[in-house]
Amino acid sequence: MYEIRIHSRGGQGGVTAARLLALAAFRDGKHATACPFYGAERRGAPVVSFVRIDDQPIRVYSQIQKPDLVIVLDTSIMDVVDVFQGLREDGAVLLNSSHDLDGSDLTAYHVDLTGIALALDLVVAGSPILNTPVLGALAKLGIVSLPSVKEAISETFADERNVQAAEKAYQEMTV
């Protein structure tokens, strides 16, 4: 089982990113669950969502304690939340950032999702859309396939720029 924890702020689309990732994994023929943790959410507050992907039906409902991958959609959260908590030794971090994680031994990947969204003018209510480009980065990491990512996004959003954003993140991220 591959376990992913997504850190974002309320309104940035972390919950939708989890759902899209589960859908893409499902289109790949895997079992997947997406589970947001709901607290007293409001726009801007740190929020967490979880995704589990497996070849077998998933019977675990508790929160992910030891993620294989941590996604940080807003790196300013790292000042207030220990996003690396419980991360597996062989785990990895995916940052929405134009630069790498400084001074860390962790396996880290980065891609400027915000820049990709802004370049495509993919902005809703003043916030750049991060949940569709991040799917491209996850395809690059091999967690889901790029065709399934595109299918999942097309099924969910009519605006084609969402698929373009995922493709751009796939191309831009180095692994």
């Binding site: 989890a18 759902r19 589960a22 859908l23 499902f26 079992h31 997947a32 669950t33 997406a34 589970c35 947001p36 709901y38 998933i58 019977r59 675990v60 409902y61 508790s62 929160q63 304690q65």
Partner: protein
């Protein structure tokens, strides 16, 4: 169609497939997505139901009672305080023998104000005459909601059915869902005592002790008959649609020396705990209790029993633990866990099994053994 959906969306999809004539509901966290989705179906013309956005849960059940008394298939959904607010009408629906189907998204009761999973809300309606089933996956939420209409409307039952799903833990989780056209598995509704303007009669008049007593016995007789009806409907469902359900879902119980009994999503988490325990050489199994009313007869003879109650009856104990004690004679280790959405992992459940003490009660996280 195979897709992914939340538990709430699965319930809404099953309601769409069952095509109730009247749906009356009031939104409440974490049930809101069910009524939003149904309202969208109705607005888009995908579901030809009369959707009544009432001003309260009491009115929601009252509207379902009126529509059902007129012979129409009815549905509502609620949670927690909403369920308690409709309590008077919940009794009335069963007493009037109306096959209303209700989804209840299990949520704790305030204060303190809490929107997360707990089963005390459903258990507070235990003695109303409603059948109650608890589900554990998105697919089961769909399947059980469909079957609820068949069971409720069966001529030997004619009692309302409550489909319970854990707030957030299931209502808001996304899993795979096969939504399908049930065809004649859900035949047109026929309520034999429905209002007939050609044959006027009085509904709900003053009833003397002798007749009242017979009406009450008739409810219990139907509740007992429902055991066979449920089994028949679940068997037919398995034959036609390929998924089997029963009063419990048993996992690795055949040679188990200790059995964990839990409900809802904790019942699934318990299966993972059983796998962990088996790896450590503990002969554990799990029984996920699906039907709470009618309460099934469990075969637990000769085994240790660990019951996880996501509920509590103050001054008495865990409702499920005591129900199992009184129906089987077992002396379970009664674990009170998960109240108000408390996080309970499979490792925690394995720990309950390893530290069990038959006949004792343990409040998880409180560090008291009572």
């Amino acid at each position: 169609m195979l897709t992914i959906a939340t538990g709430n969306k699965a319930v809404a999809a099953a309601v769409k497939a069952a095509k109730p004539g009247v749906i009356a509901a009031y939104p409440i966290t974490p049930q809101t997505e069910i009524v939003e989705q149904i309202a969208e179906y109705v607005t888009a013309g995908a579901l030809a139901s009369e959707y009544i956005p009432v001003e309260s849960e009491h009115s929601a059940m009252a509207a379902c009672i009126g529509a059902s008394a007129a012979g129409v298939r009815t549905f509502t959904a609620t949670s927690s305080h909403g369920l308690l607010y409709m309590h008077e009408m919940v009794h009335w629906a069963a007493g009037a023998r109306l096959p209303i189907v209700m989804a209840n998204v299990n949520r704790a009761l305030g204060p303190g104000w809490n929107v997360w999973a707990e089963h005390t809300d459903a258990f507070s309606q235990r003695d109303t005459g409603w059948l109650q089933v608890f589900v554990s996956t998105v697919q089961e939420a769909y399947d059980a909601t469909l079957m609820a209409f068949r069971i409720a409307e069966h001529e030997n039952v004619l009692l309302p059915v409550m489909v319970n799903l854990d707030g957030f833990t299931l209502s808001h989780i996304t899993q795979s869902l096969e939504a399908f056209d049930p065809g004649d598995f859900i035949p047109p509704v026929r309520i034999p005592h429905a209002i007939d303007v050609e044959n006027p009669c009085v509904y709900g008049p003053l009833t003397g002790p002798a007749d009242y007593f017979r009406f009450r016995w008739d409810i219990e007789r139907s509740m007992r008959d429902s055991v066979g009806v449920i089994a028949d409907v679940e068997r037919e469902f398995a034959e036609r649609f390929g998924r089997s359900y029963g009063p419990t879902e048993d996992y690795r119980c055949e040679d188990a020396e200790v059995v964990v009994v839990a409900m809802g999503t904790l019942g699934k988490e318990a299966e993972v705990a059983v796998d962990l325990l088996r790896q450590e050489g503990v002969a554990a199994g799990s029984m996920r209790l699906r039907w709470f009313r009618p309460f099934p007869k469990l075969d637990l003879a000769g085994r240790d029993v660990v019951v996880i109650d996501r509920d509590y009856s103050f001054g008495f104990g865990g409702v499920v633990a005591h129900s199992i004690r009184s129906t089987t004679g077992a002396e379970p280790y009664s674990v009170i866990a998960g109240l108000g959405g408390q996080e309970v992992t499979h490792e925690d459940i394995a720990g309950f099994v390893k530290t069990r003490q038959s006949g004792k009660e343990f409040w998880f996280g409180v560090n008291d053994r009572v």
